[in-house]
Amino acid sequence: MSRAELACAFGLLALTATACTTRGPDVPGLFILGVDGMDPVISQRLMDEGKLPNLARLAAAGGFQALATINPPQSPVAWSSFVTGLDPGGHGIFDFVHRDPKTYGPISSATSPVTDPAKAIEIGDLYFPIGGGEVGNNRAGVPFWDLLVEAGVDTEIYRIPGNYPVPGSNAKTISGMGTSDMRGGYGVYTWFTDKPVPTRPSGEHIKGDIQIINVDDYDLDGTPDSVHGALKGPPDLFHLAPDAMITDKDYLTAGVTFWLNKGRSEVYIQTGSGSGHHDTAVLKQGEWSDWMKVTYDALPGGMLPFEGMVRFYAKELGPGFAVYASPVNIVPSNPAQPITTPDDWSADLAALLGNFYTQGMPEETNALKDGLFDDDDYLGQVALVREDTRLMTELALARFQRGDMTFMYVSDIDLQCHMLWRHGDPKHADAEAHPAWETGSAEEHRLDIEHMYRHVDALAGRVIDNLPAGSTFLLMSDHGFQPYTREVNLNTWLRDNGYLVLKDGKTTGTIPTDDVDWSKTRAYNIGFNALYLNQIGREGQGIVAAAEADSLMKEIADKLVAQRDPKNGDAVVRSVARSKDIYATQRASEAPDLIVGFDIGYGNSDQSTLGEITAEVYADNTSRWSGNHLMDPDVVPGVLYANQPLPNAAGARVGGQFGLLDITATVLNHFHVAPAPGMTGQSIY
């Protein structure tokens, strides 16, 4: 072989190697901050007032526009559309809550129905799983990151909503909103207290695990000094028949002991019990602990331990006792369930960042809604989450190089708008006081939402100043925000208008407890914006024939839009869309028949969302959950900032605005990657 032939052979080898390890196109990188709930009106006002200097700088250099959201404008729906480039009819996430058409009961929209029931062998009092029961992610479509990775683009996706259970991928992803705690839910905190806890200020049930404890006198010296409690972890599956319903007593527990000092100003906390695994902390009243490990033994002798982690907050040590424990989070360095792709990426992140919140939506809104946290307690916890986000963003920036794509999700604004809007409407200067306005704390916390925007501005500033030259930076949100002052119970409205009938002459009841007479019910509500017809052949006891569906939908829609709030005469519903008119058809059979777009200030009550029929249709919203976006999409658009000039959106698809699906198309187009079938967005560049 001549030297030329040899060189040629090596050249071919090099080319082959290059082809095998596909490299992405040689283009600048793309970094996206996805800020849940950021509103264009509030953003514009704060920029005009000079309070968002970095975002103003970004808008001046590139552009700032409202970004059309999806219908319904719910975070899991909207982010799933961004992820897949599909509308809800394509990806199949229609609401936070779906319904089982056979039983009519509410089910999670995040997971697909289990088609292969769990099986187990029973030996003594133990059940050993032998398969089945696998729970998958319900989202259909191809995530944009899979297309990018296939094209050789290094892609890192941080805390993406709706990605748990985590589907397989070659991209680096960590799941966000929807990621469960160790119990398998969306986060149940524990409250150790020596006093009974009243119901929520709004009358609803408390969401936390309330443990009424005694402060014991361990050494009988006359001074109470110790508290023993338990933290619930994963379901005790080895003691549960595969088809058994999980009740409150069916969870594995880990012990926790609190030792108080003489003056009850400080507490020594030990997780675990006896000589078992334990972690320790000393806290003063009002302090938060770092993450502490807890271990759950699924089998005797420590043969199958599951590790979780928890943070404590010493709310009150004396004279009363009240200590908060966070939901037991999955440990990123040793996850009991995968929360990333690849599986071990969470451990890599933990090695660089230390432990961080892994539960989706980790801001402790429940303890605030339950009245156990005050605003200062809540904001203290929010600051911990924000620090996680800041550190993760710094890490993502440090790893970001030319040709890379990175997405970072930021939850700060969304949940704080939900919880703190009651202190002062940041969007409508002439708004009346919110029904949940609190005399004692409103003035002190009036500008809290503004502060959240300023935190995001600072984060955006870090990104702007540290991206490699030439990189594209987009800051986008899934929807905006509005006040939530009046609750509507859609099921009660359906009852009052003769579309839903209760059994035995009842006037109140719930769908899951079988109070509804399905032989006379033509429509029902499960979910925040979803109405379903009781269709023959689809619902378990359907009575509405296909031929009458269109006229019934039109009748209900017309009545809802014409509805006026008896308190003030305001319009309640701005629009009602038929899903078959606005959605793609891939998963149309699972879609609600009607999507209710509430007007500003109105929203479906939590009770109706889960199938409850209450006495009254309307009520003032006295819950601390006081801002909302589950409305007509036109009143809650999101934002789009870019560091490259934004073209005129006049030709864009959605009402003169770019929309979420266009951002997906933009991401793919940036890297010269063809969209997947069904993607309909148009690249903005």
């Binding site: 108080l260 003489k262 400080e266 020594y268 320790t280």
Partner: protein, 272 residues
């Protein structure tokens, strides 16, 4: 115990970390390999090499017998029993050498752990200093006091538990090695804390039990001490290629020492 710990420290403080503690890989490879080689030579000296060879040969013969006469149930059962007997002989021949080699191997391992398994505390950390009173101690945990050197302060605590624990949360002003003094009646014991700076030998735990040999970063507590343990928790040190901390070091140590032993058993003529 302290004499033994001092002797081991004297030896290993010289031979470990010749290039400083930063290059963990050097000591984590060289010493396990050397330990493997030395263990091999010791094993050759102290073991019954002929007996081991005979037992291994016997195991092979009876396994072959099982394969060849698999249609003869009685033959297979007898061969299995004989193979198990030879296995027992093989294990018996190994017990003595194991007992001889265990102490030096353990000494090497615990010294490597003390030097490489833990990271100094971050300067902004607020670690707990936790004291466990010895059973039957005449001083109550509530009466234990703490003296701190300049630059170190109590951030919270003490919280003393009636079951014999005392905990303080401490805070350092700057990086450095600090020594605190814990008092119980007339007894005073010191405990080191390492904040910030380069990786180094970490003072994790002082105890008056046999476990002190596993923590050569500091002297053992006297056997009649009022304290059973005085400890501070340190984070695992990031180690290249293997799990962090003690688990990683165990993998490094046994991985390399076994690899070296098996690689060199032929050239050194050792029957394992």
């Amino acid at each position: 115990m302290n004499a033994l710990i001092s002797l081991l420290n004297m030896v290993f403080d010289v031979i470990l970390a010749p290039f400083g503690h930063r290059f963990a890989s050097f000591d984590l490879i060289v010493w396990p390999v050397l330990a493997g080689v030395i263990a091999l030579l010791v094993y050759k000296k102290v073991s019954n090499q002929k007996g081991i060879a005979a037992a291994k040969n016997g195991i092979q013969v009876h396994l072959l017998e099982i394969v060849l006469y698999r249609d003869n149930l009685a033959g297979v059962l007898v061969a299995t029993a004989n193979a198990m007997k030879q296995n027992a002989l093989y294990l018996g021949n190994n017990i003595g050498p194991m007992l001889v080699m265990m102490p030096p191997m353990t000494a090497v391992l615990v010294e490597i752990v003390a030097n490489y398994a833990y990271s100094p505390l971050p300067v902004d950390a607020t670690p707990l200093l936790e004291v466990k009173m010895a059973e039957g101690a005449s001083v109550k945990s509530m009466d234990v006091t703490l003296d701190l050197p300049a630059g170190l302060s109590v951030d919270a605590g003490p919280v003393a538990t009636p079951d014999g624990m005392v905990a303080w949360r401490l805070k350092a002003e700057t990086a450095g090695d600090y020594v605190v003094t814990v008092h119980a009646g007339t007894e005073a014991q010191q405990k080191g804390l390492a904040f910030g700076g380069e990786p180094r030998k970490i003072p994790v735990l002082r105890t008056n039990t046999w476990e002190s040999i596993l923590y050569p970063g500091e002297d053992a507590l006297p056997s009649d001490s009022a304290f059973e343990t005085i400890r501070t928790h340190y984070s695992d040190r990031d180690l290249p290629y293997f799990p962090d901390g003690e688990g990683g070091i165990l993998l490094w140590f046994f991985g390399f020492s076994l690899a070296a032993g098996f690689a060199l058993k032929g050239p050194l003529g050792v029957e394992l």
